[in-house]
Symmetry: C2
Subunit: 436 residues, 2 copies
């Protein structure tokens, strides 16, 4: 039986998962491939720590070059993470004619163009299913069977830490800081959680999805970014009363020839399938002009689920190698000449529904003052709630708007915040009804 | 730009959808393929009916051979449906070296082996994504990115008619016959709905999924089949009170080296993602040993969604043709030599939880009599309900069991039905808790 030889760079958690696939499912892979996948080398600076998997000592090396440049390696799996030395490693592997599989979304979002140009020049494959949505085969679906569709929109729940925190805030009515601290203690959040909770990780993944769905290059700086640290228990509670849940969504849409690219907390209807995606699960919903709405759901992280996606890519490359069909499907779904830099819609131009929360003095006529300002900006009110005040002096007023331009919302809130009756800066959260 | 030429056999609803993809998304397809897909001929016995799409008259023919044997056709799309002449058409196309895309689950479930053997001998591709789950790219996911997994189980909601009827029975508390009649009037159910409501269509799809997931050939007769016509509004109401919904599920599992293959109404927890799949939507949930649970959700039928899946297959074949890589991925996920005839578990050996409903006289001691029989067969009771009787003489007793062997359940029910206090034949519905 023919053999395709794999070198692994980075022997951390996901690396151990990859080794487990080789150890447990070699017959499964050869039954499906008609050839043997062989793990020939593992490089990591630390080769003494116990990874929970037995490995022949001869496989291990601290010298990355023994994977990157060795003639007996066909495919390199990069699981080093971060920008450097991952970028240099990947470029070196490509230079030596290796095909590359990576789970590194940060690397791809920042250096994707450089890496894919080098790969294209050298005639090797770069695949990265595991970089978005863990085990969920979303990139493969976009590149393969859904590829005759013009995509209209994509919504993703792509960060397990955020989703875990929001799920627990929703279930327990707890405050953000409390749940975050607990999540850190339980290992569901990093010691420095900024990258996750401020939406940076989600933006990296959205950048990749936008290129695959819309054929556009997107810089990270072009993605509007709001994290979940400003979400309060009271917003979650009001959302529920209106029939909504709050999720951190990655949103991509094509509107009038422009691309919306944004990551922010979003209210979605409680009965929408995405609303049930709780805890460490991820999901992506996309709408194609022919297929309509499609949702994929699964584990967004974790050793084994991520290893499944990594090894799925290795199998795809192996199939191409065995048939001499490298380049069969372009890495970013489109031929390179069909990827351009499409205009990104400015945030103040987007149209959305909005949840607005005001903190005001408890006095007759306050609602009228707020409503008048909204009316002046052409913002229609869909529903309103003023619960019994818990404090002596201030009350909360919550308004759900009809569709409005973000610029008008921001102008109206700025004017409302100047009203003498308003006690705190007003809050807003965007609402998505289109995903029911 | 290179060209791949497509011939369409069958110009009904889905055929019109396929033509629409060519008319609306030709640039989308060439941006992704790097070549042109061209529709060169459409054959149908009826070429005069208005299909809602404009077609050059020169494209149309009533002579199937002009698609099946014409040298200018590379790929044949078979949308004739049914067993014959679809089978003969497909075999003739293969014989003439055409690659084939079909949406015909009945054909595949019955003649799949013959067709794939012919294709393999001739060295052509046969693909059939649209045969299961409409637009949902489930077969592609199993064959491609998830292919390093050993699958543990698969659950599918695969028939829109059944799902629509059960959804409406659940929402409205209406009786099966009433909803069916209404569904027929609205076009959601056929005049003769047997094929759908008795689960035959779902079984065709399950047979295909079982081969792809478990590498086993399955005859339709080996699939245990129960439709939804025996489900009553009262069962749906009791299910809700216990926190469950009733869905017609296709179920495949590997248990102790044997394959479970069954289609039947099933109670699933209300909070399971599959429970939210309502109306004409389909969903498939599978569990792989590495990826864990994955769910795919989308439109299970309809002109455009099905056309998306059909054309996704055409694109896959075109990619292989352009790279000379025919046979890159086996049609049934496994190399032909890895597909065997694995033992199917007999229904009386399966283990499940059960919902039991008894209709008895309203007299002290009845519950004790029933419980004693269940106990004699080693069947544990998880919960029980005896609502206030609506009729003077009879009451309903509902019991949810712990896991039990189907043989024991059937023996116990047979014995209980002989009790003098029991007024009607007892009912049972299987419960799946593993899909939470």
């Amino acid at each position: 039986m023919q053999e395709v030889r794999v070198g692994l760079l980075g022997f951390g958690t996901i690396g151990a998962g990859v080794v487990r696939v080789f150890q447990h499912n070699a017959p499964v892979m050869s039954d499906r491939l008609g050839a043997t996948l062989k793990l020939v080398r593992i490089a990591d600076l630390d080769i003494t720590t116990d990874r929970g998997v037995e490995v022949e000592p001869g496989l291990l090396t601290t010298d990355a070059d023994q994977v990157l440049t060795a003639p007996e390696v066909d495919v390199v799996i990069e699981l080093v993470g971060g920008y450097e030395p991952a970028r240099s490693f990947v470029l070196k592997a490509i230079e030596h004619g290796k095909h590359v599989v990576t789970a590194n979304k940060a690397l791809l979002a920042k250096y994707g163009d450089e890496i894919l140009a080098a790969a294209s020049k050298k005639g090797v494959e770069v695949m990265f299913e595991a970089s978005v949505g863990g085990g969920i085969p979303i990139l493969s679906a976009i590149k393969e069977n859904l590829c005759v569709n013009r995509f209209r929109s994509i919504f993703g729940i792509l960060n397990g830490t955020c989703n875990y925190i929001l799920s627990r805030m929703t279930e327990e009515g707890a405050a953000f800081a409390t749940v975050l601290r607990d999540a850190q203690q339980q290992g569901y959040a990093e010691a420095d959680p900024t990258f996750d909770i401020e939406g940076v990780d989600t933006a990296h993944k959205l950048a990749i999805l936008l290129t695959l769905c819309f054929g556009t290059q997107v810089d990270l700086e072009q993605i509007h970014l709001e994290g979940i640290s400003q979400i309060s228990a009271v917003d979650i509670q009001f959302a529920r009363q209106f029939g909504y849940k709050i999720k951190l969504l990655a949103i991509g849409k094509e509107v009038d020839g422009e691309i919306e690219a944004r990551v922010h907390p979003t209210m979605i209807p409680q009965n929408a399938p995405l609303a049930d995606v709780d805890g460490v699960f991820n999901a992506v919903r996309l709408v194609g002009d022919f297929v309509g709405p499609v949702m994929l759901y699964g584990q967004g992280a974790g050793r084994d689920a991520t290893a499944s996606a990594v090894m799925g890519d290795v199998m795809a490359i192996a199939r191409n190698l065995l048939k001499n069909a490298v380049g069969r499907t372009p890495a970013r779904a489109h031929q390179e000449w069909a990827i351009s830099r499409r205009p990104i819609r400015a945030m103040h131009e987007i149209v959305s529904r909005y949840y607005l929360r005001f903190t005001t003095v408890d006095r007759p006529g306050v609602v009228a003052q707020i409503a008048r300002v909204l009316g002046n900006f052409g913002i229609g009110i869909s529903s309103m709630m003023q619960p019994e005040g818990r404090h002596v002096d201030t009350v909360a007023i919550v308004i759900m708007t009809h569709e409005a331009r973000e610029a008008d919302i921001r102008s109206a809130l700025a004017e409302i915040d100047l009203l003498e009756v308003v006690q705190e800066q007003s809050h807003f959260i965007r609402i998505e009804n289109s995903i029911e």
